[in-house]
Symmetry: C2
Subunit: 370 residues, 2 copies
Amino acid sequence: MSGRFTVTYRIATADSADARTRAEAIAREQTLEAPPEATTPAIEAALLGRVDALHRDGEAHVAQISYDPNSAGPDFAQFLNVMFGNSSLQRGLKVVGLDAGPIASLHAGPRFGIDGIRRLCGRPRGGMIAPVLKPMGLAPADLALIAGRCAAAGADIVKEDHGLADQPSAPYRARLPRIVEAVAEANARAGARTLYFATLAGTHEHLEDNIAFARQAGVDGLILMPGLTGFGLVARLAAEGALPVMTHPAFLGGWTAAPGSGIAHDVLFGTLMRLAGADISVFPNWGGRFGFTQGECLAIARACRDAAGAGRPMLPSPGGGMSVERAGEMASAYGEDVVYLLGGSLLAMRERIGDGIYRMREAIDAATGS
Amino acid sequence: MSGRFTVTYRIATADSADARTRAEAIAREQTLEAPPEATTPAIEAALLGRVDALHRDGEAHVAQISYDPNSAGPDFAQFLNVMFGNSSLQRGLKVVGLDAGPIASLHAGPRFGIDGIRRLCGRPRGGMIAPVLKPMGLAPADLALIAGRCAAAGADIVKEDHGLADQPSAPYRARLPRIVEAVAEANARAGARTLYFATLAGTHEHLEDNIAFARQAGVDGLILMPGLTGFGLVARLAAEGALPVMTHPAFLGGWTAAPGSGIAHDVLFGTLMRLAGADISVFPNWGGRFGFTQGECLAIARACRDAAGAGRPMLPSPGGGMSVERAGEMASAYGEDVVYLLGGSLLAMRERIGDGIYRMREAIDAATGS
């Protein structure tokens, strides 16, 4: 394989000699993880990470370190391991950029992307609206009723909450077929094409069976949480290409909780999700219950959609305490190639949930001129 | 199921009214994730998280929030999702304690634990020594040669580096049988019982086959990285009980990188690894290349071994830039129920690697009085 992939790290030191030492140590830590006396010249030449650039940036330094793709091999997990496996445990170190280079060609990337999802739900233009089915505790029939109402009102994607797993109140295998049926009925009545995305759940030994079950039951897409089940599963479903993938940020917060460490918001929820093969990447919008800033959110959206990025452009999906009232503001900032999530505030409208979706549609269309 | 599980959160606010509001919001976020208007009284009563205690601690507050096990169901990933899925994305919030309560009985926990691993490697007393096979780039025969030398010198566990994946230099299926053979030969010659732990690798679609392959090839244990492949896989291998599990901290650093957010070191590398079913938990020792303090490391060891903890007591395994020279200091602090990792500094001794292991044994035995 030719070419290398490059990770940009921010190192929290203003001292350039210290920064150089730390950068060289990262290049070794992430690959050979052994001193030269324990390796060979051939291995050093072939696989040791390389500090290609280092410059001061305010009170810190920014280092570009490139890696041979053979240090990662074909596995997405091992690619992340080289990127930030051990060195993530260091203090004052943050991944702020990623040029996947030859790694992109090893993975399928988003199989549907913006165009594919638009085709599936029959919405060639305008923002897409995705109500969230919840809360946990509702029975499958209750969730199916809400799903049907959302589909009847023209939602583009009815998605399950990430917290709907395999609880006794609505077991995975009882729930999915009921909701598929309800959405299909509403679609048939309205001549619409609302999609239904289910949250992949179940213990690890049932994962394979539960993926097959979802496909057979007729869901239109799966929601995965890479923080809980790994990015490799995203890459694998994308490679199969049978079902669109929506990723959810649950249990990924450690990476973005502190400004000087972890992984930059746009790299994590944009570049990496897209490289792994997500068609839609959910993340918390600014001004909701989470601490993401507007700048961080718009950077995520750019990384998802940038024509120059690796893999098909895919859909950012801001959520987390959003409401119809904020739809116009959000649509003005994000534009139309977006899946707008609507959760608790919409569900609180109960049997008038359809009105909420109509109003959301009007507000988004007005803001984007669709 | 009776009883509840309790998560202790540190909330970065000195204002008690603000802390109360945030604690109540976490209890809702992690369960129903919807306002009361979108739920039912029965669901609120059954599944909403409950703030059982809240008190000020310096400039912050500490909240104990308990959850009904039915909010998680049988899946380890969903249990983590309730513990810290969405709220991990908030600023200034940290998990500092976990009482698994009824969740512990849903999972097998460590199947071998301290006693089981000691039985397998025939070391009833004293610290255990685990040299690390690396670097990436070596061929299977080279790695097997090192493994044989380590076994001949009485290493307790020969473990692969977490960075040995499925690279072309030493593909998983070519590597494992060679090392199994080399360790078996050395064991036969020395009348010893050195164990060989392999790093589970390969793309997600080959994961099942690669687990079966490792078992058939005759490895004695598997190394898993929950940060890359999820805690659910640990729980599943523990449930099967066929092979001991060693967990490695790669790509978990986001959780411990900042003092005010993430997950406390002892909860992550002790309580959670043990609950998931790891028999051995690797983490970076203080004073090495990582920023863990002695206090954090000893707290991890306590959480691994505490007789009052959930699941069989298991083995802490400090590593990361350790050396024979530091063995005495480490053994004095940690005691003997420990797997001491030795990587680069040992490998740099090359054909004298056996001497390094003998000296390590002497230093540990002297410090622990074994």
